[in-house]
């Protein structure tokens, strides 16, 4: 049974962690796409920016968390979300909005967002250096070990404190987004605009306000995703490099323009990563006695080596774009 615990630790927990982060990022990408019809290449850098804001705030006030009983980084998250949302709205007002007013092709917007990505990345590297930094400054990462009440199980399921926070925040974000899109007037207006912008404008929806709200949501969620990733591992200025393609893969797998699809896509990509590098020999070894003699289990039976983990989302991205560009939920094709 220890093998099952090993599976839960390495696949279920790890996959959910990565999946949640990708899902939150992909929701932002997909919302921006469905409202403004372009792929935002600077999104991963907005995530890094959000995480950097948390790092800066946590470094400035390392003791705040202790007073509330939460890690300081989590306490600072709402402020960082607001700052990132402000940045997103600012970039839109200063740059994307004039481009939209000119009616440029989506591909020009993409090239433009590449410039934004370069600027953000350069600034982040200027201020944060190049080394990895932990968001836990004054406190220690707590680790929970859940002992299972079975006799054959000797190893515990291991979940860390940031992972618990991550699950709670992801759940909150998904439920919040669902309620917002389905219950509020603004959310409904947003869905209307995503379906048909001209019709939405004709029926009296203030489309520029919807655009601003979209950037606020996307920026806020980007800050959450970036911070959660940095909490789980550490803050790195080149985080965006490892995030951009996975979140695009997640958004496209889920069908571009579908927020729920993006969430599903995030988990598909996250689990695909962990399943691909999981050593299946561990799970199969207890069954060794049932195998014929000539079949010897190799020590390591993973689909790809751990060093190629990052490549899995790229494969998914290429495969889905080549064979099924609408994604699993029939998204829009650009």
């Amino acid at each position: 049974m220890n093998e099952l615990v090993f599976f839960i630790n390495n696949v279920v927990v790890a996959g959910s962690v990565t999946g949640s982060i990708y899902a939150i990022g992909a929701v932002g990408v997909t919302l921006i796409f469905s409202i403004m019809r372009f792929a935002h290449f600077a999104h991963a850098d907005m995530m890094t920016f959000g995480a950097l804001m948390v790092l800066v705030l946590t470094t400035a006030f390392p003791e705040v968390g202790g007073a509330v009983g939460l890690p300081t980084a989590v306490v600072m998250l709402p402020l960082a979300m607001a700052l990132t949302a402000l940045l997103a709205v600012g970039i839109d007002k200063g740059f994307y909005k004039p481009l939209r007013a000119h009616g440029v092709k989506p591909i020009v917007m993409v090239i433009g967002s590449l410039g934004v990505a370069l600027i953000l990345q350069g600034l982040i590297r200027l201020f944060a250096g190049t080394r990895a930094q932990s968001l836990y400054i004054a406190e220690r990462k707590e680790i929970f070990r859940l002992e299972l009440p079975f006799e054959s199980v000797t190893r515990p399921i291991i979940v860390t404190e940031p992972q618990v926070i991550l699950f709670i925040l992801t759940l909150a974000a998904v439920i919040g987004l669902h309620l917002f899109l389905n219950r509020t007037r603004t959310g409904k207006a947003m869905r209307a605009m995503s379906d048909n912008p001209d019709l939405a404008r004709a029926s009296g929806i203030n489309t520029s306000r919807i655009v601003t709200i979209t950037w606020i949501i996307a920026g806020g969620l980007a800050a959450v995703a970036g911070t959660l990733l940095s909490l789980d591992v550490a803050f790195k200025p080149d985080l965006s490099f490892f995030l951009l393609l996975p979140i695009f893969a997640a958004a496209i797998v889920g069908g571009v323009g579908h927020p729920y699809g993006a969430i599903a896509g995030g988990f598909v990509v996250g689990f695909a990563e962990t399943l691909a590098v999981f050593n299946w020999a561990v799970l199969l070894r207890p069954l060794q006695q049932h195998f014929p003699d000539w079949l010897e289990l190799p020590r390591n039976l993973a689909f790809v080596g751990t060093e190629y983990k990052i490549v899995v989302p790229f494969f998914i991205l290429v495969a889905i774009l080549v064979w099924r560009p609408t994604g699993i939920f029939k998204g829009k094709v650009i």
């Binding site: 989506p106 433009g112 410039g115």
Partner: protein
């Protein structure tokens, strides 16, 4: 009787355009031949390599309307293959090394092209980006690339086994010749019926299909041609600097080539040349100034300004004002 009077106005205009192009090419040739006595040859070689890279990219974006986001993969493949071969087989002459590197880039281009060519716009950009990132990790992990350290000490060797390329001046003229060959291929392709069909596809793809052109085949050919020339640029660059590194495969390189083309003018023959010259000079200047760490930010700002208010690029704007004032 003067022949120009018998020609139709369109033909006359074409004649004049052709004449202008030839004059410009001759001027370029003259400048290129004199340049190493005025400026530092290694810097000029860098400009020429990147100019060829940008011209190759422009063939795809400017004439076929396809935004590839993974051209760094071809540059790096050409560079690594040439570097590896020349470093491990001392008997190999540099031109054979360059040809093999280019061939490798062509093969990779054919593979990428087949996978990506049927997607358009952003999806095309994303497939090429994902494939290029795959290649990046292949280069990081493969033993023959030297991983994070890259390949060093690639010998320049003797051209055709006769002319030593160790002097920078000899190397410069060789690079200049390579650039001219590449540039001539692009110019020939653009002004051929093939180039006209590409432009037709860029302007209105459904119409090109309805006229009976096999659009996918044309796009694929343009992609492979562009990939091969990018590989040629990468191979030559490896020879010049005697090293091949991961910088060439990084997505920043794919971004830089977009910037060079955009700054100079998308869809103009000389635009990428101007853009590459400017970007390389800028990087050179910034690297020596206290603003060295700001390179990425400044490049990004130029990007944003270009996209915002300067979409036809330097050469494009000059052509525009020329047409407005002299026609």
């Amino acid at each position: 009787m003067d022949t120009t009077q018998t020609l139709s106005p369109t033909r006359q205009r074409q004649r004049r355009a052709q004449w202008r192009r030839q004059a410009l090419t001759l001027a370029l040739l003259a400048v290129g031949l004199v340049a190493p006595f005025v400026a530092y040859p290694v810097f000029l070689m860098k400009v020429l390599c990147f100019a060829l890279f940008a011209c190759a990219f422009n063939l795809l974006l400017g004439y076929a309307g396809l935004l590839s986001f993974g051209h760094a993969a071809f540059l790096a493949t050409g560079g690594y293959v040439t570097g590896y071969l020349l470093a491990s087989y001392p008997g190999l002459t540099p031109e054979l090394g360059i040809l093999t590197g280019t061939a490798a880039a062509v093969a990779l281009g054919a593979l990428f092209g087949v996978l990506s060519i049927r997607r358009q716009g952003i999806y095309f950009a994303m497939v090429t980006l994902a494939l290029a990132q795959l290649m990046f990790f292949v280069f990081v992990q493969s033993p023959f690339t030297g991983g994070e350290d890259g390949l060093h000490g690639v010998p320049r060797g003797e051209l055709f086994g006769l002319i030593s390329l160790n002097s920078n001046l000899a190397m410069y003229y060789f690079v200049f010749a390579v650039f001219l060959i590449g540039f001539a291929i692009i110019q020939r392709a653009v002004h051929s019926p093939f180039g006209q069909v590409l432009k037709a596809i860029r302007e209105n793809e459904p119409r090109a299909v309805s006229l009976g052109y096999n659009v996918d085949a044309y796009k694929l050919l343009a992609f492979v041609l562009s990939a091969g020339l990018a590989g040629l640029a990468g191979s030559t660059k490896t020879l010049v600097f005697q090293l091949a590194s991961l910088t060439d495969a990084h997505w920043h390189m794919s971004g830089e080539v977009i910037l060079m083309t955009l700054l100079g003018g998308v869809g103009t023959l000389f635009g990428p040349l101007v853009g590459a010259g400017l970007v390389v000079s800028l990087q050179h200047l910034l690297a020596q100034s206290p603003l060295g760490n700001w390179v990425s930010v400044i490049l990004g700002l130029i990007f944003v300004v270009c996209v915002l208010s300067f979409r036809s690029g330097i050469v494009g704007e000059i052509l525009k004002s020329y047409r407005k004032n002299f026609k």
